[in-house]
Amino acid sequence: MALTDEQVRTLGKQAEAIRETIITMLVAAGSGHTAGPLGMADIFTAFYFHILAHDPKKPDSEERDRLILSNGHTCPVRYATMAHAGYFPVAECLTLRKFGSRLQGHPERLRLPGLETTSGPLGEGLSQAAGIAYAFRMDGKKQRVYCVMSDGEQEEGNIWEAVLFAGKNKLSNLTAVMDRNNIQIDGMTEDVMPLEPIADKYRAFNWHVLEVDGHNMNELVQAVDEAKAIYEKPTLIIAHTIPGKGVPEIEFDYRWHGKPPSKEEGKRFLKELRTMHGSVSHEYA
């Protein structure tokens, strides 16, 4: 069902708050990835604040939907969203990548309740999500399994093994979301190793494929709804996103894939976000 205008506004504000936390935590960490997490803020907001059946107070609940993050290096967006959703205090985000922190540089399931897997090495999340989905179907469980993955990691062979497996087994309880931001560390995906026509490739492997604007809450939510109605195939939602979304200096620039903002940049970016890109004269936070 389509979101109301009010819901869209609320989710949008939530995503902006998550972007601010991402900037703040990356500045504090002094290392980490910036463009991907900012670009995925809307996707994660849609999941944690609308789509997922979950309870931040019961992260181990049997009934929860499973959200697997495959490209673990974008974990700041997951940590920030989980904190805003109530899994842990937002202030803990400042411990990202620090010694003793539960917020490891790449996410580790055993360290932080609410994470479903340990991830970072690329191309492995879709298989794990498929394994969970397969086990759920064996046991007649109705929960949904989601896997958020990057476009760059489609270059991994392990991904295509998973795509074959999920297609063969018609894992309709599995929905993958590809963050299609067209960048990876060494440049644009289509220069490094062209992926297109990526939608056709998945279709050829017996997947149902949808393409959405990854910053449009309504499109995201409705695509997930459609995936639930597809009974004979797993679904891939290609979410076209702008890397670094929300901070014009970062947007579309692959050089922001793997570095954090400096303190000065952080201040500037936060001001950018808090003044709604200069449309209001005072920062609201």
Partner: protein, 329 residues
Amino acid sequence: MLNQDAHLSEDVFADDVRQAPTRDGFGTGVVEAGKANANVVVLCADLKESTRAEEFEKVFPGRFIEMGVAEQNMATVGSGMAAAGKIPFIASYAMFNPGRNYEQIRTTVALNRVPVKVCGMHAGVSVGPDGATHQMLEDIALMRVIPGMTVIAPGDAEEARKAVIAAASTDGPVYLRFGRAATPIFTTKETPFQIGKALMLWSSDAPKIAILSTGSQSHAALATARALAASGTESLVLHVPTIKPLDEAAVLDAAKRAGRVLTVEEHQAAGGFGSAIAEFLGEQHPVPVRRLGIRDQFGQSGSPEELLRHYKLDALHIQEAALSLARIY
């Protein structure tokens, strides 16, 4: 003399001792494990006959998952199934599992700490005619350095059966190593097996050498001890199926009693079982240690017997090495 408490098979020294490949023990053991626990599932990468995974498929078709030739996916799908409450045994040749999918096992199984049981078949040169590409000689090294990974190389098909059942009821990841060729069944149903426990096969009052062996080499080690005794050299044979966690008390006791140690394994001499023993004794009780294994070489085609002889892992060469070590000091 034979350790009576080990309840070894009566025909252990007979020329026509009953033989079977350790992978047969996987087939029977995993069916028993499946009967005991409905969460046991088996994933196989297009090798269900030669891994014996088909034994499980026959009894539990709905819990057998054919992965196709995709070992990386097998490990990661296994990780996901384990996260959802299953106990997956993932089976293929050791060269590909854990050879091909090492990083998947390290990250999504071990670091993620889920109870996936990695089953590597056709380990060692005794694979025979297939040659070097299929003769895995580095798997013990790869697996034992991963934190939290249990590593087991059963000595015969009967012990393999018990090891599989034990692995199913152990929390956490386990690596199980199996061979292709038929090897003597020297243990019986009554022989004790416990993960992390070594088994004394042969003992004497004043051993001059302790032979520590793992996998099916332990039968040759036992034959060696008998031959040595006939020529007046006393020894002991400690069979160590669990390479990690090591039965440190038993290894220490053997080293103290004999004062010198010979290790035997069908694996690279570097990094494997012998290295584990040398590392432990080097820190706890330094005694002369000699390691029998493959010396920085790949295997090749041939019959299992030819290859074990060529790489000096047959009873005759074990005896030679034991005698020279016993005489040196």
